[in-house]
Symmetry: C2
Subunit: 219 residues, 2 copies
């Protein structure tokens, strides 16, 4: 039903100026980080002069906030979706798959978050809270369907959550480095399948690990 684009009606023919500014700013903030992004670059990409930006956003920080807000709105939906109901291996995987696909479709949130983790910047703490708190909520990620010793016995559960999250996000932020090494466009459909397959394998390990037979040293 989104097929009303180029032909007949008034909706969405050209994006509005604020939207085009947000688009450009999102890409640039994600690539260079907050402080290294200049408003001149943003304006150039939109096709206007930098003072004109101030007709739409109070200042650089407000523009950054708006970019964050728009990204968070897209990603917040699936993040809280695992809270309700029993957490089975299948549900976790489909939850991860959703997030992976979302990051593939728009890699900018992961990139922005990585910049924030490295260098700080405005609203970093708020950003962390809104993205990560849902995942570490007491009750979230509580495995009920299986007697998983990983969670209860070794106390590694939050570490596993962190690891899988890092896996998904660092794929986006680091993949360009592997383009040559993998011999594949990291954002192609085939690459996405490969990444999902590997995640499935690793997820099985976490779910089925019973704590027996450590590699070669006492736990």
């Amino acid at each position: 039903m989104a097929a009303t684009d180029s032909e007949n009606q008034a909706k969405v023919p050209p994006r509005s100026t604020p939207e085009r500014i947000l688009d450009a700013a999102e890409d640039l903030f994600a690539e260079k980080g907050y402080s290294a992004t200049s408003l001149g670059d943003v304006a150039d990409r939109v096709g206007i002069r930098s003072p004109s930006l101030y007709n739409h956003f109070k200042n650089k920080e407000a523009l950054y906030e708006a970019v964050l807000e728009r990204l968070l709105a897209v990603f917040s939906a699936p993040l809280g979706e695992l809270d309700r109901g029993s957490v089975t291996q299948e549900r976790v995987f489909f939850w991860l798959e959703t997030i992976v696909r979302q990051h593939h479709a728009n890699p900018n949130l992961a990139r922005l978050l990585q910049h924030a983790a490295l260098s700080g910047g405005p609203h970093t703490n708020e950003l962390i809270d809104r993205l990560f708190s849902p995942m570490f909520q007491p009750g979230a990620n509580r495995i009920e369907g299986a007697e998983n010793t990983l969670i209860e016995n070794t106390g590694l559960q939050p570490w596993a959550v962190m690891a899988f999250n890092n896996l998904v996000m660092s794929y986006v932020t680091m993949a360009p480095m592997y383009r040559d090494l993998l011999g594949q466009d990291p954002f192609s459909d085939a690459a996405l399948d490969n990444q999902l397959n590997l995640i499935r394998i690793l997820l099985r390990a976490v779910f089925e690990y019973k704590g027996d037979a450590p590699l070669d040293q006492g736990a």
Copy 2:
């Protein structure tokens, strides 16, 4: 004998000015990235004025190169160490453990690399080659001790290499975000143990995965 410093310690060589510049620049480049780091910040941290930097380094880019070179010298040794001999699960784990410990001891390489992956910067391609090529060398990472179907059948081997590498590096670059959520200093010894335990579990999954019983959809 040569103890003319403060006490009678044998070794307290006061770091030379170039070394102190490199120390400061490494921290700042790792935190803010190349372009967002100002030479004034570097000079301030050393305790000199920024023009004095030019007595020791040709320009900002040369300083950055020197920082990279010094870091690569530390990390290049274990990277090529897996090339020779059979690749067993134990050897891979100890190899990973070495790298993890090195990143914990000096997180700056991972941070610098992450900045380069996101924003580019001088010598990024060279940096990628020198760090990642050894891992993807034909012959490297060739599992001989076990009949691992992951490698040969599913073609996921380079993806697994990439995933574990991302796991190690993104721990360093993202861990600060999890400090509150994990309730632990991510760079403490206890945290390091937890990370190593999880890596061990995931590594077993990759080694022992035989390709049977995909989660719930045909391979």
